[in-house]
Assembly symmetry: C2
Homo-oligomer: 250 residues x 2
């Protein structure tokens, strides 16, 4: 089933495209509804479709030669995935799984590449969109390279605090600690050590329950990006964190 | 001074563009020669130019709120930088420094965006080029998330071995250990611990001198990407590693 122009328009990447162009995109698109756990595409395979998320959530993960898997990103509504592989016409570098029942727009890869060649408006729209995705990966690399696991965990916990002005907070961890470690890019024993480090900064945990008793001190220690990056508000980062409150199928 | 069409053609991104289009690119381009240590562009500033490296090398680094700097990539001849920021028209997320005397093509950002809007051939060419850059960042995130520092160091040392079939090797580290730590994304004390871990796998160091006495065992332990990623040959990875044998100005 085709998504239709009204649905395509709800995706911010397409909101400014002409009706004429949207009709061309619609003709090569399909609407998909997928249950939790479904594999959408697999690392190493040649891309057949480009995807946009309308509802639900999709985790992108990538596997190293020894089988260890890293969660690179969780894609929320309005986000795309595998665009780089589709446009470069190279095998997927990531696998995609549904982690929360999802509705997707799937656009045929080959037809999309052909359309991009003909339509400068579409090509420059996609170029801007991929550019934003690229920048978020640069930020993630910075995070992985300059912060300790304890600081990354601190940033993550701070992003879960609902009130931006709160000095203390009490909440439940969104998922079990094994997955949290994968999300932060560390091994589970390092996550435990990181929680131990943060104890001195007022972070208490009991099971999945977390209590932050000195948010200003934790902020000073963890140095979240919104302290220096004008593009990011605290709310944006909170949104990014809560987007990942889902479980990734093994 | 304009680079001229022949020079632009030496960049693989432009090699298939029509003469007509190359002339349009040439009209908005300048040739630059820069000494070691020169700052080319600065994180947080709005982009004015898109760059391609003709000769020499440029390091891209990004600074966290506490001033810690991470080296994200070193760009070699034929590579571009800041394309994502130019195309999205958003502040640079990275700073760029010359780390080896460089000759660059600098293309005016605003004029380039205007040209991309009019020329589907150019837009889709840049889209493919950015897609390849994006995929290399995904691989780097995987590396940072799934490998221990000792494994990352092992992969790095293996990439410095000139003979792909060698069982042992003896060489000099391309730069001092502080910079090697930044390149691998760890603190210096962790780098020392990683060297200690690798000692049991036949890795001996004395100053900057490294001896690998059991390459098959080190390979098995470090799990370099070329074991599973058909796109990458061992030679490619060696090239990537040696490209970074330069010093980044502080």
């Amino acid at each position: 089933m085709r998504p239709g122009i009204a649905t395509l328009r709800t995706l911010s990447v397409f909101e400014d495209l002409s009706i004429d162009l949207l009709e061309k995109v619609d003709r090569i698109s399909n609407l998909m509804s997928l249950e939790h756990g479904r594999l959408i595409c697999e690392q190493g395979k040649i891309p057949t479709e480009l995807y946009y998320v309308l509802d639900g959530q999709v985790a992108l993960s990538t596997t190293a030669p020894d089988g260890t898997r890293a969660v690179v990103e969780v894609i929320r509504p309005n986000g795309d995935f595998v665009m780089a592989s589709v446009m470069a016409c190279l095998p997927y570098v990531q696998s995609a799984h549904v982690v929360q029942r999802a509705r997707l727009v799937a656009i045929e890869a080959e037809a999309m590449r052909a359309l991009v060649e003909q339509e400068p408006e579409l090509a420059s729209t996609l170029l801007r969109s991929l550019s934003r995705d690229y920048r978020s990966l640069v930020r993630q690399i910075r995070d992985l390279k300059v912060r300790t696991t304890a600081q990354r965990l601190g940033c993550y916990l701070l992003a879960l605090v609902p009130d931006p002005n709160a000095a203390e907070a009490d909440f439940r961890l969104p998922f079990e600690k094994g997955l949290l470690a994968a999300r932060l890019g560390c091994r589970q024993e390092n996550l435990s050590r990181a929680f131990a480090t943060l104890r001195d900064l007022g972070v208490e945990t009991r099971g999945s329950r977390v209590r932050l008793s000195d948010i200003p001190r934790l902020t000073e220690y963890s140095m979240p990006d919104y302290l220096s990056d004008k593009e990011l508000s605290k709310a944006d980062q909170a949104l990014e964190a809560t987007a990942e409150e889902v479980s990734v199928p093994a």
